[in-house]
Symmetry: C2
Subunit: 221 residues, 2 copies
Amino acid sequence: MASPDACFCLSWRMAVEANNAQGWRTVPPQCVGHVERYMLGGQYGSDVAAVADQIAIYLGGSAAADGKDAWILDVDDTCLSNLPYYKEKHFGGEPYDSRAYVSWVLRGACPAIPQVLGVYRKLMERGFQVFLVTGRSEDVLGASTVENLAAQGFDGHHRLIMRSAAYRGYGAVPYKSTIRRQLVAEGYRIRGNVGDQWSDLLGECVGDRTFKIPNPMYFIP
Amino acid sequence: MASPDACFCLSWRMAVEANNAQGWRTVPPQCVGHVERYMLGGQYGSDVAAVADQIAIYLGGSAAADGKDAWILDVDDTCLSNLPYYKEKHFGGEPYDSRAYVSWVLRGACPAIPQVLGVYRKLMERGFQVFLVTGRSEDVLGASTVENLAAQGFDGHHRLIMRSAAYRGYGAVPYKSTIRRQLVAEGYRIRGNVGDQWSDLLGECVGDRTFKIPNPMYFIP
């Protein structure tokens, strides 16, 4: 067995990914080094690749039957990585800092998560309507998000749905549920739904399958 | 980073616990040794303890308001462990063997999972109605299950609900959803729901919070 701290931190991370640990505000202090090694040492990349593999297994040889077969992908730490930002924030060991975070996003410098970009390209090739659904504020972060996604290869998608003023103050579950309900009302069949937060994947109209991308750095209720 | 196999097996196990990997019939061959070390080397026990800790955080100082505040616990590999049986089945490296499994359960020799027994006792002390809900066949396994639970300290619960003939052939999600819906119709408020399979925790009336106990040895759809 690993050292007591490594053992505890592995268990904590597992509790996060299985949605047993909720409402946490920072990574436990004794796990900051563990999360750093996880994110930078290769295991995180392997874990994301494993999710991409499961999506590939689920897809098999299938393609969109028509223009109503849809997938939903979250943006932050699903398509685009905030890891360069969190490196400066002790990998989640510091509480959320909205001003610094907005400055970071406005730079439009988030790199693609390559395994998810692979999933995205496959979905596009197969003719699925891909919706990128994000809690980012449309007013403040719209332009930088559009630019960042395009620069990182997330182009040609059906629709980018950002948080409009009407949804300000909504929690992620009711906001994203409302968006998905609208898509279903438009006749879309949500074949899959990918996010790094359980709040992307719970609520209404979650889709035929959901896929949780690992993220031990922060929790969005 | 760990060896390529260890890295892959950690990712596979994470994919199982986050419900990304579904419908698998055996542990991947290259991960049988990994799962053995996980189950016997201390990390599994630490992971179960982390879930129990999260339940304790969720409970806080709360107690049942009246006789309708309920919790649901699954039996196999939630309250009672089948690890002694799976030791003989390559820790899930062999496909499910219903005849051997029934023989094992008829012995009534499953040990309690101590961290879950601790949760159980706390829930009983706090006055919650605890329902043990299992897919085990009532006709075949009823007597041995009742005896095994009592011998391992799971006594005094409100009701043990086993699969009656009426539910033969039901999948776990519709079977357990139907049971939970009936409990809600009786006026129970399901405050929490604990199981080692996602099929214990998805569907209808899942409860205010669900808790996933780790299990990398088998998958029940």
